[in-house]
Every structure is written in C-alpha cells, then in structure tokens.
Symmetry: C2
Subunit: 546 residues, 2 copies
C-alpha cells in the first residue's frame, strides 16, 4: 500500500482555499500512485480555529467541505482532519476528529482523546475527549490513526490518565498514522522526534506523521513530517517551513526502500530565522496585505526586523521610517541609511522634533514646575508611533513591531509608542539571540551594518542614554528572564544559581509589573516554548511576584 503524506499550509476559516488545496493534493497523490493520502489535524478549517468553533455555521461549513473532499476520493482513500459534532447529548458539542474517506464514503471517524489545554492550546474549550477507539481496515492493512497529542502521553509525568494507543494496539494494527498541528518552537522538533520514535518502539509499529506548515497570526507551524520504522528509527523527514508531498510504500509493517537516517539539525537561530520569515509572510498573505512599514532607529532590533521583512515580503514592499529626535546620536541616521542601502528597501526621514516641541508647549501649563522625566521620553516614542501609524493609514502599510523579548519582559518600551504594530516580529527573541540573528543574517556578507551590531544599545530618548543605565548586561538579564519565564523558577531558586538577590527580585518585579503593557501589545510570533501572548496568561491586578 502506498501512503502519501501531504504537508500543507492551511488558512484558518478559509474553506475555499483549504478545500481546493486538499483536493489538488488528492489528485497529485493519486497521480503519484498513492492508495491513501493523509492530511493534517483540522486541515479542513485550519488550526487553531479558536472561537470560530462556537459558531454553528462554521461547523456546517466544515461538514460541507468534508463532503466536497469526499467527492474527489475515487481510486484513492484519504484521511483528513476536521471538527465533527458529538451526537451524544452529554459532553461538549464537538470532537477534534478525522475522516477516513474511501470511494467517496466517510467510512469511519477517528476522534482525539488527549486534548492539549496548556500554553497556547485551548482544545478542551471546544472538544469532548474521545473514549472509544477503533483501527481503520484498508486494503488488508489495519491502521491505528491518532491525532497529534494522542501520542504525547508517553513521558514519566503523563498529563493524561489514559492512552489511546493502548486501546488501539489491542486490535493488532500494522501501522500507526498520526496527524498533527504541532507549532514550532526552537528545539521542539527534537522533542517531537523523540516522542514519535518512543511510540514506534513502544508499540513496535512503523509510524507515519504529518504536520502542517505555515503561520496563523502568532503560531508558526514548521512541518517536518516524519516516517519511522517499528524500531523507532527515523527513515525520512520532510521539509521544514515549506509545503511537501511524499509517497511511502508500506509492505506488511515495513516502509519499503528506506534505511534509518540521522536527522540533519538546523541551528536554533537558523530555525528561528526561517520561522520569523514565514511568520511575517503568512501574516501578510493571509490578511491580504503586501506592504510593511517600520521605524528604523539605527539600532539592532529594528535592523533585524527590517532584514526579516525584506526577506519575507521583498525589499520593494518594505518602508523604513527614520525618525530622529534631538537626542538621536549622529551615527543613528547613518547606520539606518546604510542598512536601507544594503537591502534596497524604501525609506523616509521624518524628524519628530516639531511634535515634541508642540507637546512641550501644549503641556506647559499643566506641567508647570515639573522636571523632564520619563513623561517626555514617552512623548517622543509616542510621536514616532503617530508617524508610523500615519504612514500605515495613508498608504496601507502594515506596521511591524520591533520590540525584543528582553524589553517586552521588563517593560522597557513605551505603550502606544514603540510598542505599536500589527504583529510583533521579534517579541519572542531575547536580545542575546538578536545578536546571534544578526550574525546569521550577515553570514554571507555584511548587510546589517557592523556599527549597528557593536554599539551599546540605547533608546536615545534623553542625552547619552544607554540600556545599561537601568538594566544589567543582556547576558545576565536574559539568563534570569529565561529561568523565570521559560522555566517558571522562583526568585529563591534563581538566586541560588548565584545571581544577586536584589537584582533577581527587581527583574521579576519588573516582569510582573509590565503585564498591563503586554496585555496591549500586538500578537508576537512564537518561536520559543513560552512566548508572551496566549501561551502565558498572568493576572494583571495580582499581588504574587509584584
């Protein structure tokens, strides 16, 4: 039996495109001689559909699409993910499910049992967990079909009290197929490979795994669909960050023609780079826009965002706005212009001095006797926000936010100022990783100016200001932030690692105190296991950690 794995880029709620793409790949797989073609979890509606699932009409549209897809399954069978209704009265109204379609008929429906409901996942918000399981019989082969998380209960501290494969294995299947919507975070590909190999080994079955690719707002799917033999050896691995279609021949319980292979690892930074480029690209493609605007300061953060945007959208679609103030250093404009020249994107230079003066004059009476402080710094940052948003409004550019994860974490940024934007490009990338990204982007020749990389970071909102005036060095800061944010360690545990007590407590307090700001930031492209946004839900008016 020949099984095709279709690793595709879906678009949430775009039934027309998703259905068309699925039907095209049924035809392609059939032309390639496949007996069965396998699509990803919730392929029909895209993942994550979120509260679209609560609209009765949305579920009907999923069903309609499922029927249309079934009409094209002649001479080839198909497995495709979609939500289905729960016919029982008690329990949630939906299952996260997959059709097995043969000869235009929906022969069976597999339902997901283990519903991820942590980090960015909310599946128990919508779905009832399945409690009964049955293998698919097809061409004399018994297929144990599971959906994503259903294979992930295999570690030492299992999150769920049941294990669907333990039920399915009773039927003595010949092969496992798992369809997924497993979002990217650096190193998650390694975790996936281990979990899938462990399943193949545990159940002594070959395993075919299909993931999706593409970004849905902040969530980026990286693909990397894989095939394993019954000893847990990886036999093949599909492309990362791109669509792919491959056909495998299953003979008994053997994937014919493949030998165990080593995974060729990409560096974390290379993966993050490719993920961010895809994240930007899909945000624009899927929302129907093509042109981006950003504020280019001459610093490293906006330089990186500019580079990524040029790569994702084409330099001709990127508008960099240079907005000097009286506190901007001489080199800032030069560094920014060097970058613009290297990439060939558009630019404008718009000084914010007039706005700053206007607000000074407007506030003079109310601020009488008050000293220059953070207020005036924020006025500058917010005036820049007005300028780039004006460019966005007038010409239809979409504003890219350039805040990095370190500054998002400690609240080192101005709400409604530099925290503006439609999508946060590097808000999940620590400052220390930003430098690595710069090195990676410059690997084949300097495009990000060296001075942008080597100069001390500064917001340039008052004379001679440097990040290091109010923050520890970024190596220290990022290490403490990682322990607290990604690993959820207490201040006590971090101090025990050898960090200064006052510093650790101050940083944790800053992180917690900035929740109100992060609540109002744009969605942030997720590349780490713990990004700000829907995966991290902290109280705003809470006392703990404050």
């Amino acid at each position: 039996m020949k099984i095709a794995l279709a690793q595709l880029n879906y678009h949430v709620g775009n039934f027309e495109n998703n259905t068309k793409k699925i039907i095209e790949h049924i035809k392609l797989a059939k032309a390639d001689g496949a007996d069965l073609v396998v699509f990803a979890e919730l392929a029909v509606c895209g993942y994550p559909p979120r509260d679209f699932l609560e609209f009765e009409e949305f579920i009907s549209l999923c069903e309609d699409a499922g029927k249309e897809i079934a009409e094209h399954c002649t001479g080839i069978a198909c497995i495709v993910g979609l939500p289905v209704r729960n016919e029982q009265i008690a329990g949630k109204d939906l299952y996260n499910a997959a059709y097995f379609i043969q000869d235009k008929q929906i022969k069976s429906i597999a339902r997901k049992a283990l519903l991820p409901n942590y980090d960015v996942f909310d599946e128990y918000r919508y779905f009832e967990p399945a409690t009964s399981f049955e293998c698919i019989d097809f061409m004399g082969t018994k297929i144990a079909l599971t959906i994503c998380e259903d294979l992930w209960n295999i570690n030492n501290n299992p999150l769920y009290v049941s294990n669907p494969m333990d039920a399915l294995i009773q039927e003595k299947p010949d092969v496992m197929i798992n369809i997924a919507a497993s979002p990217f975070s650096y190193q998650h590909d390694d975790e996936r490979r281990i979990v899938l190999a462990d399943n193949a080994k545990k159940y002594s079955l070959p395993l075919l795994y299909v993931n999706q690719i593409g970004a849905q707002t902040e969530l980026i799917f990286d693909g990397g669909s894989m095939v394993f033999d019954q000893n847990g050896n990886m036999l093949d691995e599909m492309g990362y960050f791109k669509e792919d279609l491959k056909v495998y021949e299953l003979v008994g319980s053997v994937i014919a023609g493949y030998k165990p292979m080593e995974h060729k690892p990409m560096s974390d930074i290379a993966q993050i780079h490719d993920a961010l480029v895809l994240g930007i690209k899909d945000y624009f493609v899927k929302s129907g826009f093509s042109k981006a605007v950003l504020g280019l300061s001459g610093g490293i953060d906006s330089a990186i965002v500019c580079a990524l945007a040029c790569c994702a959208l084409g330099a001709e679609n990127v508008m960099a706005v240079l907005m000097p103030s009286k506190y901007s250093s001489d080199h800032s404009i030069k560094d920014a212009l060097d970058l613009v020249e290297n990439f060939g994107c558009q630019h404008e230079i718009i000084s914010i001095a007039e706005a700053a003066d206007a607000f000074d004059s407007m506030m003079a009476l109310a601020f009488k006797g008050q000293a220059f402080n953070l207020t005036e710094e924020n006025i500058q940052a917010r005036s820049r926000g007005i300028v780039v948003m004006a460019m966005s409004n007038k010409f239809g550019y979409i504003l890219l936010n350039t805040s990095n994860k370190s500054e998002c974490a400690v609240g080192y940024g101005t709400l409604y100022g530099d925290m503006c934007g439609a999508i946060g490009v590097i808000g999940d990338v620590y400052k220390t990783q930003i430098y690595e990204l710069a090195e990676y982007i410059n690997k084949d020749g300097v495009v990000i100016p060296v001075n942008t990389i080597v100069k001390p970071p500064s917001a340039e909102l008052r004379p001679g200001q440097k990040d290091s005036d109010s923050l520890p060095d970024y190596d220290t800061l990022d290490t403490i932030l990682f322990q607290f944010i990604e690993l959820k360690k207490s201040s006590k545990a971090i101090i025990e690692m050898g960090y200064d007590e006052a510093l650790v407590k101050r940083i944790i307090k800053m992180v917690n105190g900035a929740e109100f700001k992060r609540y109002q930031t744009p969605p942030i492209l997720r590349v780490s296991p713990k990004a700000f946004g829907s995966g991290r839900r902290m109280p705003i008016v809470g006392k703990y950690l404050a």
Copy 2:
C-alpha cells in the same frame, strides 16, 4: 449546627491579605456562635489565579496559607477553597479543591470534578477533574460539599458526562454546601438562583451557597450568596457587590427560622452600574493606585465613565482632560465643563491644535498630493492619547478607557488614540445601554448634562461628523451585534430576523475586521455574558466572517 457563610473580597496572589481576612472572619463567625464557617472557591489565592498556578512556589504559598488558617480553627470548623497537589503521577498536577478543617486538622479535602473551560474560564488548563467523592461528617451531620461548576450540570444539554452530586447523594447527606467563584454578568444572578434551586429540589436537600465579591482586573464577582430549603425555595440572599457574613442554623435538614422569600430583583442597569463602580474601585485598590485620568469630550461615553469614576474613587481623585480640536463643536467644552462642575472633579483644558499642526507639517513631504482622510482623524485621536498618557506619566494618574461595546465591536475607534487606557470601563456596555446608564445616574437629579445625552453622537474628528454617517442607528446596530456576539448567530439567521442583508454582512465584517484592534485594547470590565477579552478568542488572520 450553626453555619456561617463568609462572602469576601479576595485579591489574587495576595496571601497576606487573604489569609488575614479569612482568619478575621473565622474569629467573627466564632463570636457569632457558628460551628462551621464557609469561605469561597480558591479563597486562599483569589480567583482567577491564572498562570500563577504554574509556579511551584505559588502552590507552596497556598499550602502555607492553608496551614496558617488551620491553626485558627479551634472551637470552629472551616471550609476554605485552595489549589492542592495531585498526588497521582498521571494527570494534571493540581486539583481545584477545598479543605475541611476541624480542630486545627485538615480532616478532608473535596476536589472539583466539573472544570469550566469556556468563555473566561480556563480551569482544565491547570486542574485534573476529580473522579471520587466523599461527604464530610461533622457534628453528626453529613455535608455534601461541591465546588461551583459541580452543581451546574443540571440542564438539558449537559456540558459534562458526569455529575458529582449523583455520587455524593449515595451517602444520604443532610445538607449541600457549594463554594463558588461565579463572576457577574447581568441576569446571571437569575440563572444561578434557578440552577441552585433545581439542585436543592432534585436532591431534596437544603443548600448553602457562598460566592465571592470584588473585581480581579476585568472579572467582577457580585456575591449574592444564597440559602435554599430542600424544596428549592430560596430562604435568604446575602448582599450584592459587598462583603457579608451571616450565620444559619441547620436542624436536621431544615434551615431554622427562615421562610421561603421572593428575590428582590435589581434592574440590569442598576446591577451594571454597581458592577462597574466596584470594577473601577478594585482595579485601583488592588493595584495600589488612587487617581484616575480620562479624556472628557462632552459626549455621553466619557461623561458616563467620569460619573462612574467619581463614584468609585471620589471626585477629588478624578482628573478630566478636555482636549478640543478645530473640529470640536461649541457645545462640547460647555457640556464637559457642566459635567465637571456637577461632579466636582478636577479638570484641565489642553487644545490639541498645536500637535495636529505639527504632524501636518512633519508629514507634509511624505503625504504630498494626498487628501485629508482617516489618517488625519487618527492623528487627532492619537494626539489626545499622548496628552492623557502624559498626564498619567507625569502625575501617576491611571488612564480610564471610555470606548463603549458598540464601537469596540465595529472598530469605530483609533488604536493608540481613544483606545488607550489601563482598564476599559464601558467596553462591555452597548451604546443603547449607555443611554440607560445615563438615565439611571440622573435618576435623583441631573448630573450628566441633558445636552450630552440628547445630542447626536459624534467623534468630532472632521467638520460636522456624526456616528450616523457611517453606522446605522444604535438600536439597529446593537440588536445585530447582540445576535452575532452574544448569541453567535450567523448572518443568515440575523437576516431572517428581518434585517437588511447588506447591512448585516457589513457589520459582521466590521466586527471580524476589528479583531486586530481589540487584541490591543485594555482589559474590559465584564458585565455581559460575552465580553471582549479573554472570554472571546477569535482568530486575527482568519478568513471566516471576513
């Protein structure tokens, strides 16, 4: 046996205050002759603790607080809600639970089975559902203790496949106690009363119900703890929107000294008013602030927010900033000043003309040949945003957002302009309800100027602009919005109600197209069953409804 119900205002993560308050009320209840005092769900840490629950240290702090509370249970027993660890390896690491404490000992632990994971609730993110249940034996009385949602599986389309009371009733209990953290939305008090009465009737048992009060950022708890007899008659009802402590005597299965009573209903608008006042007050008290600033336009929305803020914080703590532009009508300043005088709050008048001129001049080159449009309107709104944020930064005022639900819904507002603020006061109140609120506030004498109420709504961002230029009348708009947002009806179903097809489709498209804006708005005080924010999670880059 005498049972005290303690309806208190907790603060998420504020162990010091919560523990102190609980211990004080143990003493008060004891002084009142109570044998048992009952506190609400997750009283120890406050509700909702969100991802604080993922910090190991936070759980230890809950345990420490539980031990400290136990030390004070001499001569009185206590039921108190807190998260407890799951001692089993498989499953989530925590339960949503309650201690039953007697003679300083944790005699038993009740665990919640039905975990709400819809709308604003995410309990399955943290908690394992309980599967075994046991009554509490105390002073010869068997108590069936359940936690909030555990009693809510009683309707015709139950959300859960099990029912904890069906297990507990096997032990033939004498009384039911339910501890809750049930947030306010108008009419939810009626639903609660019906569900609780249905439980009392179904199990033929008296029922004591304890809710909490107080706001945790956007979620407002209204109290209204209740007592029912075994026929489902309500016997007593505690205060709404305030702390309360009452002692009831249970003789066998009878609450002594009470007769069935009628609920004295408050109007929806009166409830919404009190909820918003509490919401503002607790946002400030719990985050350690006292003074508010808002932009006062002379229109009805900011007038209502000003009135509510004066009521919550005292007029002396409210700063209203009037920010006329060249498009402001003559009456705007007068109406705003009348309001300021009526309430006695502080005010400043700061024209934004200089800022608007400065941006005109700054953008002149980039905008050469472009006509005045939405861009310039947004620049005005954003200049106002800078002014009120400058007042906030300079003097420590917290900015109140004044957008109403109708405009939040259709995106009729400027991101980083009038959509700024720390907390959205009326973002869950439709414009038609805003008028009712004005009438309610003016019920004992006109404080909101009549002209503010009767003049046609306008953003005053271009000459002669009126809301009705681009939106249907608010009665029509709000009805369509309610059908779509609260009831999740399809455009087809709404059109079938008799509304114009093009209009319905345009409005739904506007609502969906404004998701990117709402993602960046402040938390909104929740007073309806479906507020924008954590209870409504829609894709941004999605195609359905677009």
